[in-house]
Symmetry: C2
Subunit: 193 residues, 2 copies
């Protein structure tokens, strides 16, 4: 998706420590026109895969998952971090390490929301070390459901989580893959489809 | 919105302690077809109000805000709980008490995302004591912007937060107002428009 690359170059900001700030359009403010296009792009990528449901994780994956859910006309489920009093009954649970916050979160999905006959598309905003996607894949597999594939809006290719998951046999689609990022420059992986 | 009342009666579950569980369509799993209708309903309610941006709070407000943002063709901003390393620079901050979790959260919005000339519609999933909406109103007013109004998907009328805000002069629209809730029955406020 060339458009994601262009959007990152136009509006992304590089902060010290290799943080790419995309708050103006993706994960603090949402550019709804652009977000709608992202959803349609995801729907196009997986149009032949009989996706029955989209799974994401709060919070910044939700807008992308909702937009894709609108385009694909399937329900969206989002995993919650920590147990909340309004999740009742049995949950699927996995532990996800956050490199951004330097902690581990229990990530939970009510068992009633994923059944074994489902074909799940996993969606998130960033793919770096791959810990969030790995956790979500674990939840889908605990449910005995099928992981159709994973979509990240932005992959940090140099942090290798995406390539590890690809080597494990999962279909991983990223709308932009950053191959290299300096304090002043962003270089995209050019062989991406 | 009669449809919201019908959806609550069809799919909502009452848990001990007065918790209404609507995870099957609103805040764990999202029924995207229904969520699209909610967004269109919100757009209709505020079609003459020149809304320039929608403000919500993570996580469960996001799907509703995104759907309304799609329908109204305006950007969405979501307030974050706690400081995250990918919010840089100056932020508007307020403290919001969570009755669900029994704690206080700092709620933050980057200053760059609300300017004083904006007309902001505030959106959330639940309105009970009104603490989240009050916090979001505070943020908009810190920015010197205009609060056009607030929308809650579901208001618990008996917890009085909505009526307090109405008495303070804010326009508060709720898609369903629960007047009374027992362990087995939900009674809606019937005089709602």
């Amino acid at each position: 998706m060339k458009k994601m690359q262009e959007k990152i170059l136009a509006e992304g900001k590089i902060l010290p420590g290799g943080v790419l700030k995309v708050g103006s359009f993706l994960n603090q403010q949402i550019d709804t026109k652009f977000m709608k296009e992202i959803g349609q792009e995801i729907a196009e990528l997986f149009k032949d895969d009989e996706v029955s449901k989209i799974l994401t994780i709060e919070s910044s994956g939700i807008p992308i998952a909702v937009s894709a859910g609108f385009a694909m006309e399937v329900p969206v489920v989002y995993a919650k971090k920590n147990r909340s009093s309004n999740i009742s009954g049995d949950v699927y649970c996995t532990s996800v390490h956050s490199f951004t916050h330097g902690n581990n979160n229990n990530v939970l999905v009510g068992k009633e929301f994923i059944s074994s006959d489902e074909r799940i598309l996993i969606v998130d905003d960033f793919l770096a070390h791959g810990s969030a996607l790995t956790g979500l894949i674990d939840i889908v597999e605990q449910a005995g459901a099928t992981v159709v594939g994973c979509v990240a809006a932005i992959e940090k290719g140099f942090q290798l989580g995406g390539d590890k998951l690809r080597n494990d046999g999962y279909r991983i689609e990223s709308l932009a893959i950053i191959e290299e990022m300096t304090d002043s420059e962003i270089i995209f992986r050019e062989d991406q489809n």
